[in-house]
C-alpha cells in the first residue's frame, strides 16, 4: 500500500471503511512519521501513543462489529494544546500549566472521539495563543516544514506544521485574530475559522472569550469541511454557541470543486491590497483573482474603511479579556506553584507563580489589558474599541449587501525566519492585519493555498457572512481546483 501519511483524510476514511486498512495501521503510520520527523519540526508538545492506538483499536472493533461509522472514522487528528483533553497533558504552550491533566474533555474533543477520529497528540502553539509564529511557546518554536529555519505561523503553528510535515492529515486549531488562517497560509495548508459561536468553546482554554473560535485545519478544502462538520454545532455548555443547524460546508466544498463559480460575486477589500503586503504575496493573490474570474465569479473592489482600525481595536479587546481570563492561573488549584515554602504569604506565592509561569508576551498583554480596563481608562480604551468593533461589523454587513464573500491575501508576508520579528511586537502583530477584522465581526474566514512566492506558500483568505460558512468553502474549493495543492520539499 502507498504511504498512508500522504493520503487525504477522505482517502484514509474510505480505506478504513472498506476494510483495506485498519485504523491501527493508519495510526501507526502517523506515529512512525512523527517519530521520524518531529525532532526537526517540533509540531507536537505531547504525543499520546497509547491513547491513539487504543482509540484506533476501538474504531476497528466497532467496524468489525458492523457499526456504521462516521465519514472520518479512523482518521488521525492532531489537536492544538489549547483544548482540554481528559487525562492528557494540556499546557496551552505555557509553563504555568506544565503537567496539568484536565479531568474533562472539551466539547470538540468529545465530538472528535464520538466521530471515531484518532487523536495523535497535542500540538505546539504560542503561549495562550498569543503570537503569530509559535516562537512564544514556552516549549520552544515549531519549524516550518517548507524551510526549517522559518516560522510556521501562529499561534497554531504546531497544527499547521503537523499537516505540512505529513504527521497528521487533520488538525484542530483556534483562531482569535488569525491563529488558524495565518499558519495555514505560511505552511501551504487549509485553515478555517468558523462563525463565532458555530463551534463550541467549552474546554478551549480562553485567551479572548469574545473572539476565540476553534476550527478545522487540513491539507485540502474538502477534508477541512468534513472536519468542520464533525466539530461544529450547538453546544448547551457554551452560552455563546449558536442554536442553529451547521451550514452544509461539505456539500459546498464539493460544489466548489466542480470549478464553477458562475453567479458568485466576490469583493476584494481595497484597504488590503495597497502597500501592506509583500510583492510576491500580491502577485500570487492577483493570479488567484484571475483564476476565480475565469471560473465565472464576478470580482469587484469593496472599500471597508474601518478595517484600518481593526488592529488597534483588537489589541485592546483581546488583552482586556485575557487579563481577566488568565487571572485564574494563580497556583492555588492547578498547574505551577512557585515559592510555597511555608514562609511566604498567599499573595507572594500567587505573584511568584505568575512571574515564573507566564512568558513575556503574555505578561505584556495582561498588563495592557489591565490598564485598558482600569477605572478612568475604560471608556477611552475598552469602550472605544468596542465601538470600533461595531463599525467594523457595519462595514462587513454593508459589503455583504454587494458581494457574497470578501477575499484578500491571508497574511501580508510569507513565513519569516525564526527570530526576525520577536524584537518588535508590532512587526509580529502585522502578521494578522488581514485576519483580525473577521474575528471582530464574528464571521467565518478560510485560508486556502493560492501559490508560491520565492518557494514559500501564499494563502488567499475568503470571508463570508456569519453562519454562511458554506460560501467560503465553495470559493476556497473552487480556487483549489484551479491552482492545486502544494507539497513542501521532503524532510
Amino acid at each position: 500500500m502507498s504511504d498512508l501519511t500522504r493520503m487525504t483524510a477522505t482517502e484514509i476514511a474510505a480505506l478504513v471503511a472498506g476494510g483495506e486498512t485498519s485504523a491501527v495501521e493508519v495510526t501507526r503510520a502517523h506515529l512512525d512519521r512523527i517519530a521520524a520527523v518531529d525532532e526537526q519540526v517540533h509540531a507536537f508538545l505531547h504525543v499520546d501513543t497509547d491513547g491513539a492506538l487504543a482509540a484506533a483499536r476501538e474504531v476497528d472493533e466497532r467496524r468489525a462489529a458492523g457499526e456504521v461509522l462516521g465519514p472520518l472514522a479512523g482518521v488521525p487528528v492532531a489537536v492544538k494544546d489549547v483544548l482540554a483533553t481528559r487525562g492528557v497533558p494540556t499546557t496551552v504552550g505555557s509553563k504555568i500549566l506544565e503537567g496539568w491533566r484536565p479531568p474533562y474533555d472539551a466539547t470538540i474533543v468529545q465530538r472528535l472521539r464520538e466521530a471515531g477520529t484518532v487523536m495523535l497528540g497535542k500540538t505546539n502553539m504560542d503561549e495562550f495563543a498569543m503570537g503569530s509564529s509559535t516562537e512564544y511557546s514556552a516549549y520552544g518554536p515549531t519549524h516550518n516544514p517548507w524551510d526549517l529555519s522559518r516560522i510556521p505561523g501562529g499561534s497554531g503553528g504546531g497544527s499547521a506544521a503537523a499537516l505540512a510535515a505529513y504527521e497528521a492529515p487533520l488538525a484542530i486549531g483556534s483562531d482569535t485574530g488569525g491563529s488558524i488562517r495565518q499558519p495555514g497560509a505560511v505552511t501551504g495548508t487549509v485553515g478555517a475559522k468558523p462563525t463565532y459561536g458555530g463551534t463550541s468553546r467549552y474546554g478551549l482554554v480562553a485567551f479572548s472569550s469574545s473572539l476565540d473560535t476553534p476550527g478545522p485545519c487540513a491539507r485540502n478544502v474538502l477534508d477541512a469541511a468534513l472536519l468542520h462538520q464533525v466539530i461544529a454545532g450547538h453546544d448547551p455548555r457554551d452560552s455563546t454557541s449558536i442554536p442553529q443547524p451547521v451550514p452544509d460546508v461539505v456539500a459546498a466544498a464539493k460544489l466548489g470543486a466542480t470549478g464553477d463559480l458562475t453567479g458568485v460575486r466576490l469583493g476584494i477589500v481595497s484597504e488590503f491590497i495597497g502597500e501592506g503586503a509583500e510583492p510576491g504575496v500580491m502577485a500570487a493573490f492577483r493570479e488567484s483573482v484571475d483564476a476565480l474570474t475565469k471560473m465565472g465569479a464576478e470580482v469587484v473592489e469593496v472599500s471597508c474603511p474601518t478595517f484600518a482600525y481593526a488592529l488597534p481595536a483588537y489589541y485592546l479587546i483581546a488583552p482586556s479579556e485575557c487579563s481577566s481570563n488568565l487571572a485564574r492561573f494563580d497556583g492555588v488549584r492547578f498547574g505551577l506553584r512557585v515559592g510555597d515554602d511555608g514562609n511566604r504569604s498567599l499573595e507572594e506565592v500567587m505573584s511568584l507563580t505568575r512571574e515564573a509561569g507566564f512568558g513575556p508576551e503574555v505578561k505584556r498583554r495582561i498588563m495592557v489589558g489591565t490598564y485598558a480596563l482600569s477605572s478612568g481608562y475604560y471608556d477611552a480604551y475598552y469602550g472605544q474599541a468596542q465601538k470600533v468593533r461595531t463599525l467594523i461589523t457595519r462595514d462587513f454587513t454593508a459589503a455583504f449587501e454587494r458581494v457574497d464573500a470578501l477575499i484578500s491575501p491571508t497574511t501580508p508576508f510569507t513565513a519569516f525566519p525564526i527570530g526576525a520579528r520577536t524584537a518588535d511586537p508590532y512587526q509580529m502583530y502585522l502578521a494578522d492585519l488581514f485576519t483580525i477584522p473577521t474575528n471582530l465581526y464574528g464571521g467565518p474566514g478560510i485560508s486556502v493555498p493560492c501559490g508560491l512566492s520565492e518557494g514559500l506558500p501564499v494563502g488567499l483568505q475568503v470571508m463570508a457572512p456569519t453562519m454562511a460558512d458554506d460560501r467560503m468553502y465553495r470559493v476556497a474549493a473552487a480556487l483549489e481546483s484551479a491552482v492545486g495543492t502544494f507539497t513542501p520539499p521532503a524532510l
Partner: protein, 499 residues
C-alpha cells in the same frame, strides 16, 4: 477602646443618621448559578464541584434559568422595574476563594431597578427605596488555620472549600435612607425583617441568617442637621436581625464620639462583634480596589420576555404586608395591638398557634406575654425561644380543659422553654394538675371555713367579696393546684350563699 460613648438620646438630638443596606440572599435553586452542581448546605468540603464552579481552564458558565426567574420575582415583589435587556459583568480581584479570580456579577446593568419596600416602625409606614437588585455568584469559603484569630493574619495554612462557589446570590441595595432620626436602628431591623419575610413568602430562599443564606452589610453615617451627609462606614458580619439594629446603634454612637472629639470618620469596612456589640475596623476603602468591571463575554445578555415577566407578576403570592393586614382583621386587633405583635416578631408564631387550634387572643397572650418576657431576658429572638406554636397550643388546650390554671400553665411553659418536654409531659413530671377531685376539694373548703369563722360569717351576711380570703387559704392548702373559680363557687355553695 475605653472612650466613653455619648448617650443615644443626645446623639440623635445633635446628628441626623443616614443608613443604607446591602443584603445578600443565597437562592434556594437546586443547582448552582453556572453549572449543575447541587446547592444544599453542608457536605464534605469540595464534593459539590465540577470544572465550571472550580474555574478550571476552558470551562464556561451557563446561566441558571431558575435563578433568573427567582430574581425577577424578588424584583417584582419589591416593586422594581425589570430590565428588558441586561448583562452580567466580571468583577476582577484576586482571592483564593474565588476560583476564577473574578466574580460574575452585574455592574451598570442590573436586572431589577428602582423599587421600594414599605416597612412599619412604631405604627408608622417607612418607605425604603430600593436602588437595585442584581444576580451574582457566591464565593467559596476560606478557612485560615494556625492563627489566633482565624483571620488570614498569623495563619500558617489556608484551606478552601468550593462547595459554596457558584451558588446564585442576589444582592439587594437600598438607596440611602434619611430622616429616620432616632428610629434608624429600628428601621434597619424592620427593613431586613420585612425583606426576609417577603423572600421567604416567595419561596426562593430559606433566608437563614445563621447559615449565611441571608447576609447584611449596613452603611451608616452621621451629619449635622442641614449639612451634607457624613462619611459612611460599612459594617459587615451582621448575622442576626437583632444585630442589624445593634450594629446601626453602635456605629452611630461611635461616629458621634469621633465627631464630638473633632475627629473625622474614615471610610472603611468595619466588623460587628456579636459578643460586645461593638464594631472594629476592617479593610480601609480609601485605597479603593479597582475591580475593572467589563461585560462578561462568556454569557449572552439576559432579555426576559415581557409576557413572561407579566405572568410571574400575576402569580406572585400574597406578600407579608397584605397578609398581615388580613390577619389583623381576622384577629380583630387594633393598629396598636398589631404593631406590638409585629415588634415582638410574633406574627407567624401566633398564626401557627391559631392554626393549631388556639383562639387568637390566647395565642397572642402567650407569645406577647410570658414568652416575649423570657426572650427579652435572655436576649434571643422570640422565634428562637425554644417553645413552638404547637406546644403553646397544647398548653392552652390543657388550660381550656381545666387541667391547668393560669399560674400552673406559666410554670409548665417555663419547663417547655427550658426544654423539659411537651406541656403534658411537664405537667405530669412536675405533678402540676388542677385538684378536681371534689371530695378532696370540699374537705379543704370546709377546713378553711372552720379555720376562719369570722370571714365565713361576713360572707353569710352578704359580703361575697370576702370569699377571696377563703379562696387564698384553700389555694394554699392545695399548693395552688386547684382552679380558683371552682374553689370560689364551692365556698359560696357550702355557706349557702348565691354567687
Amino acid at each position: 477602646m475605653t472612650t466613653t460613648l455619648p448617650a443615644y438620646d443626645e446623639v440623635v438630638a445633635r446628628y441626623e443618621p443616614v443608613i443604607g443596606l446591602e443584603t445578600h440572599v443565597e437562592l434556594g435553586t437546586n443547582t448552582k448559578m453556572w453549572c449543575g452542581c447541587p446547592t444544599d448546605f453542608g457536605g464534605e468540603p469540595n464534593t459539590r464541584v465540577c470544572p465550571v464552579c472550580l474555574g478550571l481552564p476552558g470551562s464556561l458558565p451557563v446561566a441558571n434559568k431558575a435563578a433568573i426567574e427567582a430574581i425577577i420575582r424578588i424584583g417584582l415583589a419589591l416593586n422594581c422595574s425589570i430590565a428588558e435587556w441586561c448583562r452580567f459583568a466580571r468583577k476582577n480581584y484576586f482571592y483564593p476563594d474565588m476560583p476564577k479570580n473574578f466574580q460574575i456579577s452585574q455592574y451598570d446593568e442590573p436586572i431589577c431597578v428602582d423599587g421600594y419596600l414599605d416597612v412599619e416602625v412604631n405604627g408608622e409606614t417607612v418607605r425604603i427605596e430600593i436602588e437595585r437588585v442584581h444576580l451574582e455568584e457566591d464565593t467559596g469559603k476560606t478557612l485560615h488555620v494556625g492563627g489566633a484569630t482565624g483571620r488570614i493574619h498569623g495563619a500558617t495554612e489556608s484551606l478552601v472549600d468550593y462547595n459554596r462557589a457558584g451558588i446564585p446570590l442576589v444582592e439587594i441595595v437600598t438607596k440611602p435612607v434619611t430622616g429616620t432620626g432616632a428610629l434608624a436602628p429600628e428601621v434597619a431591623k424592620a427593613y431586613v425583617t420585612e425583606l426576609r419575610d417577603v423572600i421567604r413568602t416567595l419561596g426562593v430562599s430559606d433566608v437563614r441568617m445563621e447559615e449565611g443564606s441571608l447576609r447584611c452589610d449596613v452603611n451608616t453615617s452621621l451629619n449635622l442637621p442641614g449639612q451634607e451627609w457624613g462619611t459612611r462606614t460599612e459594617t459587615k458580619n451582621v448575622n442576626s436581625l437583632r444585630s442589624v439594629e445593634r450594629a446601626v446603634r453602635s456605629e452611630m454612637l461611635r461616629q458621634a464620639s469621633v465627631l464630638d472629639a473633632g475627629g473625622r470618620i474614615t471610610q472603611e469596612t468595619r466588623h460587628f462583634h456579636e459578643d460586645t456589640g461593638d464594631t472594629t475596623p476592617g479593610r480601609s476603602k480609601e485605597t479603593a480596589t479597582d475591580y475593572r468591571y467589563f461585560p462578561e463575554p462568556d454569557l449572552v445578555p439576559v432579555a426576559p420576555d415581557p409576557a413572561w415577566v407579566a405572568e410571574l407578576k400575576a402569580a406572585l403570592p400574597e406578600l407579608p404586608r397584605v397578609h398581615r393586614r388580613r390577619l389583623q382583621e381576622q384577629w380583630g386587633l387594633s393598629d396598636l395591638d398589631m404593631q406590638s405583635v409585629l415588634n415582638a416578631g410574633a406574627v407567624e408564631l401566633i398564626e401557627a398557634t391559631v392554626a393549631a387550634g388556639t383562639t387568637p387572643a390566647a395565642a397572642r397572650k402567650w407569645w406577647l406575654g410570658e414568652l416575649s418576657r423570657r426572650a427579652n431576658e435572655s436576649g434571643v429572638e422570640l422565634a428562637d425561644i425554644g417553645a413552638t406554636p404547637a406546644q403553646v397550643a397544647e398548653l392552652q388546650g390543657l388550660v381550656d380543659a381545666g387541667k391547668l390554671n393560669d399560674k400552673m400553665a406559666r410554670t409548665v411553659l417555663e419547663g417547655v422553654v427550658d426544654g423539659e418536654g411537651s406541656p403534658t409531659e411537664i405537667m405530669t413530671s412536675r405533678g402540676l394538675e388542677v385538684v378536681s377531685d371534689t371530695g378532696a376539694l370540699t374537705a379543704a373548703v370546709d377546713e378553711a371555713i372552720a379555720a376562719n369563722p369570722g370571714i365565713a360569717d361576713k360572707i353569710r351576711s352578704g359580703k361575697v367579696a370576702a370569699a377571696g380570703a377563703l379562696v387564698g387559704a384553700v389555694m394554699k392548702t392545695t399548693r395552688g393546684q386547684a382552679d380558683a373559680k371552682t374553689v370560689r363557687e364551692l365556698i359560696l355553695e357550702r355557706l349557702g350563699v348565691q354567687g
